[in-house]
């Protein structure tokens, strides 16, 4: 085989390997190290280094970062400062290479280029001075050191107009000078490596941005949740008899949503809807809310404004969850159309609002009010049986009962109902049969499972 053909095949093989290596985003340092080997091995260059330059986004950071080195010794850990003027010089010669020996002999930049016709035997010679003397800080500082380490060439890696790094190369094993063809191969490979480093940088920045965005998002969610809780506390403070009502409705709504198989985001949204369902009460007179007696029709009408008022308050807010204002607006609607404010029926009422309706009613029944004490569990079951289908959606009642059943039977270790109702309110022995019976009436398919889990 002709030497030139063999050389070409060897170079093509290395380029193909390099392309594959650069495209592999697995281990960045390994990619750079392998790329350096490929570059050195293509022309049998005895030593080399790949150095990353700081991005121009960080002007205060001038120090380079050694990514890979070969043939110099493991102790060699160069760190260079790249001044703005140096950067300009490197950027002005994106396709060039700088000959270290020329810089040592005469401190001015020499850009390597092809001489004559460009045949493989042409030698690389210094042909141009492209930068003013003031821009030679890098070479004044480091040219001698680089020459002592056996580096002959500096090739800037320029990607999309940005100085990504520098490649330092020693001489060839053959002892021959670099030819113009050699330089073309080197520049081509260096461009590949530069793209690999640039891509890695971009990926790093994107990953960092994603992490930062996630952190900001979590912060915002936490602020939102805290604000909602504060709001709920403010609502409940206005009603001295129902302290903690909004928070409990939030928790019951969350429990029902989970039992219905909602996703985590939706469950959190339901909790928020529960916390805020009574926000409209802020516009209702305190005397009406706190009346220690059954309120009259006029007062009742005033109180019944609160769902629509709540909607008005919540609508301008960009909630991270859907339909929060609607859930506040429709939490007093009924399946039979006898609710308020709009007298909607069954499917006209959003499921979320139906959940809040049951959570609200259950808490109203199980907490003391100024004009009556709370109901026993038997009475609550009776109310649910009587009003399911007319006031409450059976699907929601079934989910609620199942969740309660799981706690009473010990299927779940969480004692969420007990915490809210007080430890003496529920009695598993009495309440499980009541729930089983109600579930059987509402959903015959549930009976076996409910009884089974209780046994």
């Amino acid at each position: 085989m002709e030497p030139n053909t063999q050389k070409l095949i060897h170079s093509f093989g290395a380029l193909a390997d390099l392309g594959q290596e650069v495209a592999d985003t697995g281990d960045f340092m390994e990619m750079v190290r392998t790329s350096l080997h490929l570059l050195l091995g293509t022309l049998a260059i005895r030593r080399g280094a790949i150095i990353e330059c700081p991005t121009h986004h960080l002007p205060e950071d001038k120090s380079t970062n050694l990514l890979a080195v070969w043939g110099v010794g493991e102790d060699y850990q160069p760190k260079f400062d790249v001044e703005d003027a140096d950067r300009d010089l490197f950027l002005k010669a994106p396709d060039g290479a700088l000959l270290v020996s020329a810089l040592v002999q005469s401190p001015k930049s020499k850009v390597q280029s092809q001489n004559g016709t460009g045949s493989g035997s042409d030698r690389v010679e210094d042909v141009a001075t492209t930068a003013p003397a003031s821009s030679l800080i890098f070479f004044d500082r480091y040219a001698s050191q680089l020459q002592q380490q056996g580096f002959d060439l500096i090739i800037p890696m320029v990607v999309r107009g940005e100085l990504t790094g520098l490649v330092l190369l020693g001489g060839k094993a053959s002892g021959d000078p670099f030819t113009a063809d050699d330089l073309e191969v080197i520049k081509s490979m260096v461009r590949h490596i530069g793209v690999g480093i640039h891509t890695h940088r971009l990926l790093g920045e994107v990953k960092q941005q994603v992490v930062e965005n996630r952190r900001l998002y979590e912060d915002l969610r936490a602020i939102y949740r805290d604000t909602v809780r504060a709001f709920a506390a403010a609502i409940d403070i206005k009603d001295k008899y129902t302290q903690g009502h909004s928070e409990r409705v939030g928790k019951y709504s969350e429990i029902i949503a989970r039992e219905l198989g909602f996703g985590e985001e939706e469950i959190e949204g339901m909790a928020i809807a529960g916390y805020l369902h009574d926000v409209g009460k802020l516009v209702v007179e305190r005397d009406i809310i706190n009346a220690p007696y059954r309120i009259d029709a006029k007062q009742s009408s005033e109180l019944n404004r609160h769902p629509a008022a709540g909607y008005e308050i919540l609508s301008p807010i960009h909630h991270p969850y859907a339909d929060i204002p609607l859930m506040a607006k429709y939490h007093h609607e009924r399946m039979d159309g006898r609710g308020y404010p709009d007298g909607l029926t069954d499917e006209q009422i959003p499921l979320g609002a139906k959940i809040v309706t049951l959570a609200d009613s259950f808490d109203a029944m199980t907490t003391d009010r100024p004009y009556k004490t709370r109901r026993t569990f038997d009475e609550v079951i009776l109310d649910l049986r009587r009003n399911t289908g007319s006031q409450f959606d059976p699907i929601v009642v079934i989910a609620f009962c199942r969740a309660l059943m799981k706690e009473l039977t010990g299927e779940t270790k969480k004692r969420r109902f007990a915490k809210m109702l007080g430890k003496n309110y529920l009695d598993a022995t009495k309440d499980i049969p009541l729930l089983t019976q109600l579930l059987a009436e509402l959903d015959p398919n549930t009976q076996t499972a409910a009884v089974g889990s209780g046994s």
Binding site: M1, P3, Q6, K7, H10, G13, A14, D17, T34, L36, H37, L38, L39, L40, G41, T42, L43, A44, I45, R46, R47, W70, G71, K172, A173, S174, G175, D176
Partner: protein, 150 residues
């Protein structure tokens, strides 16, 4: 003998290698999967069928280990090697560098014609000696050693 000067290929007779055959110490490194053994102060390391990054690094480690253990010459045997890629070349240059720093000689033995052409084209043959096979490499190293008074 200076490693930096171009070397002539060495040839030896089978009889000349017998002296060393009795001193062989098998040192197959199971972990790195690189076969090697020593003959006196010469370490013989066997390259694999395809000299790439993985196998090249194993050979480099083995050579370093042998030099650290006092080897004064390295014979890298390419009898199983069909192909050497750019990474392999770079790693071999690294081994040559380390050997030079340790004052050790490097001989490549049983290299196929295609790879010899590649080594010659890239100038590796200016830094190593090529031998027909392991026996010849060991024989000629022995001759060189005696000539240098070692």
């Amino acid at each position: 003998m200076s490693l930096k000067e171009p070397q002539t290929k060495l040839y030896a007779t089978a009889a000349q290698t017998k002296v060393y055959a009795t001193k062989e110490e098998p040192l197959a490194d199971l972990k790195s999967n690189v076969r090697s053994h020593t003959v006196g102060t010469t370490a013989v390391v066997y390259a694999s069928d395809y000299l790439n990054k993985l196998t090249g690094e194993r050979i480099e480690r083995e050579c370093k280990k042998q030099l650290d253990s006092g080897a004064r010459a390295l014979v890298i045997d390419f009898s199983d090697t069909e192909l050497v890629n750019s990474i392999g070349i770079s790693i071999l240059l690294g081994i040559i560098d380390i050997a030079e720093k340790n004052g050790a000689l490097v001989v490549f033995s049983d290299v196929n014609n295609e790879t010899v052409q590649l080594f010659e084209m890239l100038g590796l043959t200016r830094h190593v000696v090529l031998a027909k096979d392991e026996e010849e490499a060991l024989t000629n190293l022995s001759t060189s050693s005696k000539a240098m008074g070692h």
